[in-house]
């Protein structure tokens, strides 16, 4: 089938960038990123016609777990399918003659590096601000010393499933990172091992999030809708309640 692709081209952080159109022939079994492989092959083979060169995009595992791939597809991070990363999206979701527009994730805290590649270091810095349990290697008690109810363990897992891709930020009109931060805070608040540092953790992570230039949450719910791991808005509710709890207990 024939697809018309409008792709964001930007040679570097200082370039202002713009959309460029390409016509491409694909099959329904191809993944969305394989379509970009085919496009890049065309662009590489004909440098005189395409002086802008191939399209730079982030990708790695191509099975929906590493969180490296990004892309805003027709205005939606990771494209039209629910709970699906860009790399898992297949062309059978499109039909012959479709026109698709592809842009990078956009947020002040995610500056564009080149074409569709953005810098997400701000996410790492938030995790470094206490998104962990302090346990020295070798200091752990026997794994079965602490029983955790299956329901709590399952809840913790659901939050821990975040792949840190940044779609929640790209989808949010405020470029808020609260779903991402809420997921980690909730995961660790749900398990007994996370209790000791619970108060400090949420205060520091939220502080870092604000400092990185992410916006606040105004309950649009776009983050949940575009999350490839279907992380629930409950994470944000939990983040707010953890923050209130921490504010009260640290004010004592």
């Amino acid at each position: 089938m024939k697809i018309k692709l409008n792709v964001w081209r930007q040679s570097g952080p200082k370039d202002s960038g713009g959309l460029k159109s390409y016509d491409i022939e694909v099959t329904e079994h191809m993944s969305f990123l394989e379509m970009f492989d085919v496009l890049n092959e065309q662009l590489l083979k004909n440098p005189s016609k395409h002086p802008e060169g191939p399209v730079a995009f982030d990708h790695d595992c191509r099975e929906g777990i590493c969180g490296m791939c990004s892309m805003v597809i027709d205005g939606v991070p990771h494209g039209p399918n629910k709970a699906t990363t860009t790399c898992q999206l297949h062309m059978r979701s499109y039909k012959d003659g479709d026109e698709i527009t592809v842009e990078p994730f956009r947020a002040k805290a995610f500056p564009v590096l080149r074409d569709l590649i953005v810098d997400r270091d701000s996410f790492d810095r938030i995790q470094q601000a206490g998104g962990y349990i302090s346990v020295r290697t070798g200091a752990a008690p026997d794994a079965n010393a602490i029983a955790i109810g299956k329901a709590d363990a399952d809840d913790a897992f659901d939050y821990a499933a975040c792949i840190g891709c940044g779609a929640c930020v790209a989808a949010c009109p405020n470029a808020s990172a609260m779903l991402f931060v809420g997921a980690k805070v909730s995961h660790l608040a749900k398990v007994p091992q996370g209790q000791v540092e619970r108060t400090q953790r949420v205060l520091r992570m939220v502080d870092t999030m604000d400092g990185e230039g992410f916006g606040g949450c105004t309950n649009h719910g776009e983050c949940e809708a575009s999350c490839p791991k279907a992380i629930s808005l409950d994470a944000i509710a939990m983040l707010n309640s953890e923050l209130a709890r921490a504010a009260i207990s640290s004010a004592k």
Partner: protein, 643 residues
């Protein structure tokens, strides 16, 4: 090249304990004076970096991805083994050791494997303390499942995302040390050479993948945890950025490369669907706990809907041939059996590729009937969804179609008991080394080894090196750094000068096809010799016809990729040579000349009970072969049987 395994003497169960006592320690106040470079941030590299920093060393960690959390360990699905015996089903350290040596078809080093089994129990403790949400029973205690090659349930898991959860645990430990200023993390940074001073590994040369800056890093020791070389086949379950470059450049500086021909072909992957395919997706081995593998008995029915084929016309070939292990035979055995039924014309793939329908069914209907849809969804829900997303078919309704694919590489840089290569100061962890899995890795053992090496082995052994062999400070202005940097720059310019018309990707695909056809699931001397002609010819074409766009001082993914493919082209030749040299079948290395009447692998222990270690001899020269004999004092050399 001197290959001294430095295995301690005495009874095997006491060796690690004894060795830990015998090793020299570094005074806590002196540790901060030692700088250690860790290349790779997966389970092995991430856990090593954080643990070494906890001890007080000055650690720098490097990865090619934009965050250490994206290392390919994250994609491991099924689980991690540990000899906890929480199920009271007869497991023990000795049994895990025994299963691993036997599963590796007697080509691994007994002492290393025993230590691996010993520390496996500490790994689970560590991960739980970090908050890793392992699966639990209703009573709140940890759950287990069984995996291929074992008759006990010793595998801990977090749905089908165990690798992700373990890596995020290691990443959180790493973040804690970054937060404390004890690890400096360098993301989007690729190691392009290793620097030797007086024969010791004393630093690396890197390229910043965003700015293109080439940089020198001097240090007191180097730790390579850069993963495996499965992408030499182009199509594999590895991530697209996984590559052999760091390990291969170390090899070119004199590190021995052991058993490069040992490659694991995983039996349960989603079949190839077309020529544009860029990677293959694994479906966890844990599925074989509840899924039954079959093909139709009648060749004429391979394209019929599977539901229309009655029970008596289905060939459950694994259950028939291996009654005691059934669908849970080890990976190499399951893969070859699938290849055989497909070669014989019973394959059930939707599309023919080269005249074959390469796929078999993995059927959950019996398990769904027995346990209910919800119970199956709880165990495998995310895997079923993943399968449906890729293929458009629901495994709840119709059997999965699966076929073997390249997954893991058991070979790697040679290391001694201390995980140090033959180059003093260069330590190698995880999939990048060769030591623990022999010729075939058992399921759920890769995560175990990565974390064992990083959390519980290297923190002890690196101190011994620093306290005994390490020789004084070195700075980046040393001529050896100057020379290595200039070689890296020359190589970069050589790649950028490629101005043909063929994208690098195409050469990688061609290389992959040669490797799969002649050095894949079944190998022959004739095929391997043919590959030895084809690879250099392809390499020659690459340097004439390939095209690499852009510049050196910018974010240039095509330049990075070209460098990795160029290394694969050289590496492939060594792999084929090793496969040709190893004139026997063992584990994942199946030489058609050496099989029993029933088609099982036949080892030749009299001639090949050793690790083959290759030493670089210069551009275009045949590498020199060295051998480390593998002695089996505890697990008797026997023919593996899973019948």
């Amino acid at each position: 090249m001197k290959l001294d395994s430095k295995v301690p003497s005495g009874p095997i169960e006491k060796r690690w304990e004894k060795h830990k006592f015998d090793m020299k320690l570094v005074n806590p106040a002196n540790k901060r004076k030692f700088k250690i470079l860790v290349v790779g941030s997966g389970l092995a590299g991430g856990s090593a970096a954080s643990t070494l920093a906890e001890l007080g060393y000055d650690v720098h960690c490097f990865c090619v991805q934009d965050s250490p959390r994206r290392a390919h360990s994250i994609a491991a699905q099924g689980g991690i083994n540990a000899a906890k015996n929480y199920q009271n089903d007869g497991d023990s350290v000795y049994r895990l050791f025994y299963d691993t040596v036997k599963g590796g078809d007697f080509r691994s080093r007994e002492s290393n494997v025993y230590r691996l089994a010993q520390v496996s129990v500490n790994i689970i403790d560590q991960c739980v303390a970090q908050g890793v949400p392992f699966a639990r029973e209703y009573g709140g205690l940890l759950a287990n499942r069984s995996f291929g090659g074992a008759q006990v349930s010793r595998t801990f898991y977090a749905r089908g995302q165990t690798g992700q959860q373990l890596l995020l645990g290691a990443y959180s430990g790493l973040n804690r040390m970054i937060d404390e200023g004890k690890v400096k993390m360098h993301t989007r940074t690729e190691m392009l050479d290793i620097v030797l001073v007086d024969g010791h590994a004393r630093g690396i040369i890197t390229r910043d993948l965003v700015s293109g800056e080439i940089k020198r890093w001097a240090a007191d020791a180097v730790v390579l945890a850069s993963g495996g070389y499965g992408n030499v086949f182009y199509l594999s379950t590895n991530a697209k950025n996984s590559n052999v470059t760091a390990a291969f450049r170390a090899y070119k500086r004199g590190a021995g490369f052991a058993n490069p021909c040992f490659t694991q072909i995983h039996p349960t992957c989603i079949p190839v669907s077309g020529g544009f395919q860029s990677k293959l997706t694994l479906m966890s081995e844990s599925l074989r706990n509840d899924g039954r593998v079959w093909v139709p008995r009648d060749k004429a029915r391979v394209t019929d809907p599977p539901k229309s084929i009655p029970e008596e016309e289905r060939n459950y070939y694994l259950e028939e041939r291996y009654p005691s292990f059934g669908n849970l035979v080890p990976r190499d055995v399951a893969s070859r059996a699938a290849k055989k039924v497909c070669d014989d014309g019973f394959g059930v793939a939707q599309h023919e590729v080269d005249g074959k329908r390469n796929a078999v069914y993995l059927d959950f209907s019996a398990a769904i009937k027995r346990d209910g849809r919800d119970a199956i969804a709880d165990k495998y829900g995310n895997l079923f969804e993943m399968y449906e997303r890729i293929t458009g078919e629901s495994p709840y309704e119709t059997p999965m179609r699966i076929y073997p694919a390249v997954h893991y590489t058991m070979g790697g840089l040679w290391v001694d008991y201390n995980l140090m290569s033959n180059l003093p100061g260069l330590h190698v962890l995880g999939e990048a080394n060769f030591s623990d899995h022999g010729a075939n890795r058992l399921g759920a053992s890769a995560l175990m080894q990565g974390l064992a090496d990083g959390y519980f082995v290297i923190p002890y052994t690196i101190g011994n090196y620093l306290a005994t062999e390490h020789a004084g400070p070195v700075t980046e202005s040393h001529p050896a750094f100057e020379a290595a940097e200039s070689e890296v720059r020359t190589k970069t310019q050589k790649l950028l000068a490629l101005s043909g018309t063929t994208p690098v990707d195409q050469f990688h695909r061609e290389l992959g096809k040669i490797m799969w056809d002649y050095c894949g699931m079944a190998r022959t001397a004739e095929g391997l010799n043919k590959a030895l002609e084809l690879i250099p010819a392809l390499r020659e074409r690459f340097w004439k016809e390939a095209t690499v766009p852009g510049n050196a001082d910018e974010l240039n993914p095509w330049l990075e990729y070209a460098g990795r493919v160029a290394d694969f082209m050289e590496y492939a030749e060594m792999m084929v040579r090793d496969a040709l040299e190893r004139d026997e079948s063992c584990g994942g290395h199946f030489r058609e000349e050496h099989q029993s009447e029933e088609g099982e692998a036949v080892r030749r222990d009299d001639t090949f009970a050793h690790a083959s270690v290759w030493e670089y001899q210069g551009e275009g020269e045949k590498p020199k072969l060295h051998k480390e004999p593998m002695k089996f004092e505890y697990v008797k050399l026997t023919t593996r049987s899973y019948k």
